[in-house]
């Protein structure tokens, strides 16, 4: 039994690895900005109903331009209350085209506020509510980023889309890292013929031109599959190739670690293979794996949105950023309605956030 003095001594002495990493991460500005943004984005995905001002399925006029927030009152004076002037058609006609002229209706502003009542929802399917972070006070569906071709609010769809996009990314990265780490560990630790064959297989996967292969794989998904099955297929396709590079890296580290003195010592005292792998090798590989996870998430988000841009995304009742980018493939559409490019902003923000965090972590995991 350890005496209280030794326990105290331990607690005061060496700091835990996690604490050391955190201490270094805290000093990296980029990493902290990334962390804050990641938390914000995850919160946005989890509480999408609260953050989205308008029901993402509510359809109105297609391709209506973004409502601009104005701080000017009807006389042109400054006012502290943000508001939206709805665009309405007047009875005046354009002298050239004879189209009715439209312009802001200064008489009927919609004031914007925080924590306003809007469409009702059930958070997680359980908690009923109708409070939204921001929106028009009178329930007017304000489209801060305009609407898509079916007249649905792009901002709200982007906020809801983060759910599916990030969920796909998280699941895909979970799969690829577990497979990659396992294959790498086993291959590096067992060695011999198994290692040789596993590495030839990894060679093969790495030799594939990735993007065309993803495209080919996506065409395997039966278009008639039900939504949830389709989503599962998407996840499988996106996980198909990503594990290979990681397994190569983990194998290299395992090979190096297997020669380290403490592993040799563990072998000498007769520790089982499982114990050596889980107690001595895996913890030393983990930090690298965690960094790869953070850096892989944005890659999957990007891949999903790029495949979406090329016409392949989740099925419509679900909303994802890739799906929202599907319409941007046509020049004429983005030429006339440039605001439908705004889902790009969501993708960019999350890519930046995860990459900044990953970079910070990479510098921080080696505190010794």
């Amino acid at each position: 039994m350890a005496s209280p003095a030794t326990i105290l001594g331990r607690a005061r002495g060496a700091e835990s690895y996690a604490a050391l990493v955190w201490r270094r991460l805290r000093r990296s500005i980029g990493g902290m900005i990334g962390l804050a943004l990641v938390i914000l984005i995850l919160a946005m995905a989890i509480f999408a109903e609260f953050f989205a001002p308008v029901d993402p399925y509510r359809a109105e006029t297609g391709f209506s331009s973004p409502d601009t927030i104005s701080f000017l009152d009807a006389d042109g004076g400054l006012s502290w209350r943000p508001r939206i002037y709805p665009i309405v058609e007047s009875d005046k006609l354009d002298p050239v085209t004879y189209q009715p002229l439209s312009g802001p209706d200064f008489a009927h502003p919609h004031y914007i506020g925080l924590f306003v009542e809007g469409f009702s929802y059930r958070l997680f399917g359980l908690i009923p509510g109708n409070i939204h972070l921001f929106g028009a006070l009178d329930g007017y569906p304000a489209h801060f980023l305009g609407t898509d071709k079916f007249g649905r609010d792009i901002l709200s769809r982007g906020i809801f889309g983060s759910r599916i996009s990030l969920m796909i990314a998280l699941i895909v990265v979970t799969i690829t890292t577990s497979v990659g780490t396992t294959v790498g560990l086993v291959s590096g630790y067992v060695g011999g013929a198994f290692d040789a064959w596993a590495q030839r297989f990894v060679d093969l996967i790495l030799a594939f031109p990735q993007l065309p292969l993803y495209l080919a794989l996506t065409s395997l998904i039966p278009i008639t599959a039900p939504t949830s099955l389709f989503l599962a297929f998407v996840i499988v396709v996106l996980s198909a190739l990503g594990w290979a590079q990681l397994s190569r890296e983990v194998r290299g580290k395992t090979l190096a670690l297997a020669r380290v003195d403490y592993v040799k010592a563990a072998v000498a005292v007769g520790a089982s293979d499982g114990r050596i792998v889980f107690q001595h090798i895996l913890p030393n590989v983990m930090s690298h794996v965690i960094v790869i996870v953070t850096l892989q998430i944005p890659n999957v988000v990007l891949l999903e949105s790029f495949l979406g841009f090329l016409g392949f995304a989740v099925k419509p009742p679900l909303i994802s950023w890739g799906l929202m980018l599907q319409d941007t493939g046509t020049f004429s559409v983005i030429g006339s309605y440039p605001w439908i490019l705004s889902p790009v902003g969501f993708v960019l923000a999350s890519v930046f956030a995860f990459n900044a965090l990953g970079d910070g972590l990479r510098d921080a995991i080696d505190p010794y």
Binding site: G30, Q210, L211, A216, I334, V344, L348, N355, D359
Partner: protein, 336 residues
Amino acid sequence: MLRFLARRILAMIPVLFVLSLVTFVIIKAPPGDYGDYIRAQLMNQGGASFEKAEAEANVYRRQHGLLDPVPIQYLHWVGGIVTRGDFGDSFYYNQPVAHIVAQRLPATLMLALTCHFLASLIGISLGIVAATQQYRWTDTVLSAVAFLGTTIPRFLAAIIILYILVFRLSAVEVGSFFSVEYGGAPWSIAKFMDLVRHVWPVVAIATFGGLAYNMRVVRGNLLDTLNMQYVETARAKGLSESGAVLRHALPNALHPLVMYQGVVLPYMLTGEIETAIIFALPTVGPAIVQSMAVGDVNVTATFMLILAATLMVGNIIADVMLALLDPRVRLQTAIA
């Protein structure tokens, strides 16, 4: 050295073989073939009834062996490559696949190599600057640039640049290498400038990402070697700072970069493919997407095979360069 080369090249063959098999099967697995495209075209454009169009499509399928079982089709295709160097015919373009490859692959490789060259040159120079100016503002700025370069998604950058070019700056010619008037013209400086005007967005986007990677690697390695004793010795014996850095520190910092070229190549190639798809340049990327959409299986499979072979050759070149550069590696491969 020659034995090492020969072994590496021979090792490519089984990988390419399995790769071609997998690719072919994946492309063939979903229902539908080029016959369906013909049928759809006949019905939509020619106003034919379903039965008539289907009959026409079946004639085409029989003529081009599309009704054979997939293994037979595969053997046919691979047999042609191995025995005659014939990659089969493209259904959509109605000409041998080899012609399409000859039209598009050089352009892709030239673009990718240009990007690669620029990325290495600029990346290494900026890496040297960043490492020698460590913790000063230049280093900070360059680190920020490197972060942007590695994170800005290339296809999003391409979409945005395309939007600005077409709708804000009213560029009329996108999706080609040359303006109309240079179509069949012989090479001249004016034609070259015209080419630059058309491809700079693709080159710029692909280069930016690559140079950021190179810069990071060079900066990291150079910082390590700058602390080495031989660099200190070089300074002590009176070499100028630039002499010490360029003659003594840099060569030793470069070889991880050379090793890294094998990884960078696929990155540059995908970058070129991604941006070319968006700019619809007549290179390999759009050809793959297009051929996949209509079920032009020979074209898709051939391009996949060639891209894979390019990547592997790139890796071998990187290994050879490394061996030439670093006696330690040379010794190892000689022993192994």
